[in-house]
């Protein structure tokens, strides 16, 4: 009815117009009015000379713009009926923001890494992040577990942690009631377990971070010491005729802990005759007494920086170090040859049995070696094809497992067993090469530099998580930050002085933080979400409870080994 009236009014008006003298029926165009009538959005093509066409907006885009404007007038803001779907509007990287001052710029947050990584890049990033210093302890872990058991354990742990990682990735999608696109795994834990979940995930995350930082400090002291010793020996042309047990050929391998009955000790027994200079050097350059403190002067200032983005540029050093280690191990294996003998249960003078009861030490190390669960969601978020996430994750885990297997098996197999016992394999396998060996010297330098650039990053992460949650501000004041850094560095120094067994530190911290992030949280959250959806079946429940029990056992048994 209303439309009819309107239409008939139309006719009336046009009739009247026929009689009236039609003056200029146009918009008022007095210049004084001009500014008040000027629109704030003008398509440039409309006001330039038709002849020179500076087309900044394509016809297609301009038509789409008008279309969207018009459609938006047809509905209420709450109605979603005529909202342009994503496949119709330009992609985020084609959007420009026009400032009224005349310039146009792209929004950085739109274009930066927004789902733009190909599968290959994602797989590489996952591999790179997972490859840590635990690679140095894998041969020792295989030795502790026995060769056959070691290989089986590595593969099984890889599969188990892969499954738990898959659970972590899928945990976000099971929450349908909220928008979880910006969530990381601690947010998921908080959703399910309340603030207890948030605090406990923070605590365990800190355990892994601080454990890693302590290991780094021990290793850095080690590498710095060896590097310094190499340089000193090189300059003074001292030939290290150690009384340390070693092989007598061009590829020396040493057994540092043989003399002290299996107790890892940091003093090397070198005797120099009448050489006070070297003795002075010995006094001031000691692996456990002095070098850790020199590092303090080097690294403590770096820890206090507000933003470590400078250090993230050195990320590539990590990859280079791992690749170099692979090369080093291959080279040494070629030179030394394989020395394997299979004794199943009884240890011999030079070999260890294939199946040993200390294999949980290997599982502890591997829990940290395969740990990426607290940041996997962020890494996969930038994958261009999200549907390939699971496939890429599996490929990455497979590559990591292969790398660990390769290095572990080669070092173990090529360890020269007739003169030395397999039991000599150190928790840091580079320790089995004397400090005069050039190739391992290069490896130590690489790793030293890499660790010195990663250490401030780890410190930053720990600071952000701890201070951010306690004080709400990631940089409350220089004093807070300084105290935190002193505590962390102090812990590292103490460990480097009194308990420099990186294998031990790795397995304790690995089992502890793995307990939460790898075993308990993913399985528990899956069980709870299934229960909420009424899809929980007995096999699934039993399987996931079994995983939780494995995790707890993993931690407990570390203390008995």
């Amino acid at each position: 009815m209303a439309n009819m009236n309107r239409d008939s009014r139309h006719l009336l008006i046009s009739e009247i117009d026929h009689e009236r003298d039609p003056g200029p029926m146009n918009i008022q165009f007095e210049s004084s009015d001009l500014r008040s009538k000027r629109p704030f959005y003008i398509e440039p093509t409309n006001i330039v000379n038709v002849n020179h066409v500076i087309q900044r907006v394509s016809d297609h885009a301009s038509a789409m713009n008008k279309r969207i404007h018009y459609y938006s007038r047809l509905t209420t803001p709450a109605d979603k009926a005529l909202i342009a779907p994503d496949h119709v509007v330009p992609a985020p990287e084609e959007c420009y923001v026009y400032s009224p001052l005349g310039s146009a710029y792209k929004l950085q947050s739109y274009t930066e890494g927004y789902g733009k990584n190909t599968s290959l890049v994602t797989i590489f990033m996952i591999w790179n992040t997972m490859m840590g210093t635990s690679i140095l302890s894998i041969p020792w872990g295989i030795k502790q577990a026995g060769f056959t058991t070691g290989m089986c354990v590595i593969i099984l742990m890889g599969l188990l942690t892969l499954y738990c990682c898959y659970r972590v990735v899928k945990s976000r999608t099971m929450i349908s009631s909220l928008d979880t696109t910006t969530w990381e795994y601690p947010d998921v834990c908080r959703h399910y377990f309340g603030s207890f979940g948030q605090w406990s995930s923070l605590l365990f995350s800190l355990v892994s971070l601080i454990g890693a930082m302590i290991v780094y400090w021990v290793l850095m002291s080690n590498f710095l010491f060896n590097t310094g010793k190499f340089i000193f020996n090189f300059i003074h042309h001292i030939n290290d005729t150690d009384t340390i047990l070693s092989t007598n050929n061009s590829n020396p391998v040493i057994c540092p802990s043989a003399g002290s009955g299996g107790h890892p000790d940091n003093s090397s027994m070198i005797f120099y005759a009448n050489d006070t200079g070297a003795q002075q050097f010995e006094k001031w350059w000691d692996k456990s007494r002095t070098v850790p403190f020199y590092l303090v002067g080097l690294l403590l200032p770096l820890l206090n920086f507000k933003s470590p983005s400078f250090f993230s540029k050195f990320n590539i050093l990590g990859t280079v170090s791992v690749l170099y280690l692979i090369f080093l191990v291959t080279f040494k294996a070629v030179r030394l040859g394989f020395h394997l003998e299979f004794h199943w249960f009884i240890p011999t003078e030079f070999f260890v049995p294939e199946i040993r009861l200390q294999f949980p030490q290997l599982t502890g190390v591997l829990t940290l070696a395969f740990f990426i669960h607290n940041c996997i969601i962020t890494l996969l978020k930038n994958n261009k094809k999200q549907e390939n996430n699971v496939r890429d994750l599996c490929i990455a885990y497979m590559l990591v497992t292969l790398t660990y297997l390769y290095i572990g098996v080669l070092v173990f197999a090529s360890f020269p067993s007739p003169p030395l016992s397999k039991d000599c394999i150190e928790q840091n396998f580079l320790d089995n090469f004397p400090s005069s060996d050039i190739l391992s010297f290069i490896a130590r330098i690489f790793l030293l530099f890499q660790m010195m650039t990663v250490y401030p990053l780890l410190g930053y992460l720990a600071r952000v998580q701890l201070l951010g949650h306690i004080f709400g501000d990631i940089y409350p004041s220089i004093f807070h930050v300084l105290i935190l850094n002193l505590i962390i560095v102090g812990a590292g120094v103490i460990m480097a002085c009194f308990y420099p067994n990186i294998g031990g530190i790795i397995r304790y911290s690995g089992a502890a933080c793995g307990l939460a992030f790898v075993f308990i949280y993913p399985s528990l959250i899956y069980i709870i979400s299934l229960h909420q959806e009424e899809r929980l079946t007995w096999p699934k429940l039993i399987f996931h409870v079994f995983i939780i029990v494995l995790g707890v056992a993993n931690l407990i048994v570390q203390f008995f080994m």
């Binding site: 009819m4 309107r6 039609p22 038709v50 038509a63 008008k66 007038r73 005529l82």
Partner: protein, 313 residues
Amino acid sequence: MPNTAMKKKVLLMGKSGSGKTSMRSIIFANYIARDTRRLGATIDVEHSHVRFLGNLVLNLWDCGGQDTFMENYFTSQRDNIFRNVEVLIYVFDVESREPEKDVHYYQPCLEAILQNSPDAKIFCLVHKMDLVQEDQRDLIFKEREEDLRRLSRPLECACFRTSIWDETLYKAWSSIVYQLIPNVQQLEMNLRNFAQIIEADEVLLFERATFLVISHYQCKEQRDVHRFEKISNIIKQFKLSCSKLAASFQSMEVRNSNFAAFIDIFTSNTYVMVVMSDPSIPSAATLINIRNARKHFEKLERVDGPKHSLLMR
């Protein structure tokens, strides 16, 4: 309902959720008054009184109702619905998961048309084409077109592929309107004469309710192929703004140093847009020309007599 026997109908039909309400809202510049996630199908014969091409009334029907009540109502009212139909526009959702069911509901409509309004023109719109990947669109549309042509025999149907997110919807409806005008060639010739006399760059003739382009004349190549739809959207948006102030849009002049454009009511069912690129010609001259042409074109419509009811008042 005695009045509906006099008015000829345009039936807009299709399965529930195929996009008819959005389409109608966009073409006719009506507000979508309610949430389109409806719980029930559209049951409303008096749905719109939009006058379209003179005295045509647009009726919107959902086909393929959700329950037997709808089915029964539809069947019992069938003759009423399909009598006096000038145009049947049937909308198919290209993403439909049950294409056989779509056909199942389309065929009874065809039968009813054959019985009650055998002279009706039939148009089939394959809608929501933006959901199909670009390189597959032509192929899929050709398949559907063949199927529909085959199914519609002995009636003739014209098929279009449409999407509300590109220019295809506007073009399809413009083609439909073009085919509904009986003397469109004569109209175009007169329009060309008119344009050449007044030395215009371009002259467009719009349908009054929907601003669909009925015919146009241009004396030189224009760069923007989307300009018809853009003008239509701009004016419809302006009409919506005017209606908020209880004002009705009648005419518009846009002028700058490069051109002058005049949009004005022309005949009782059309609007005209005249674009002059010679800024030295004063507005008054063009407006007088338009006024005189108006009288001529109205005579044209009346000359065609009562047989061609489309453009009659």
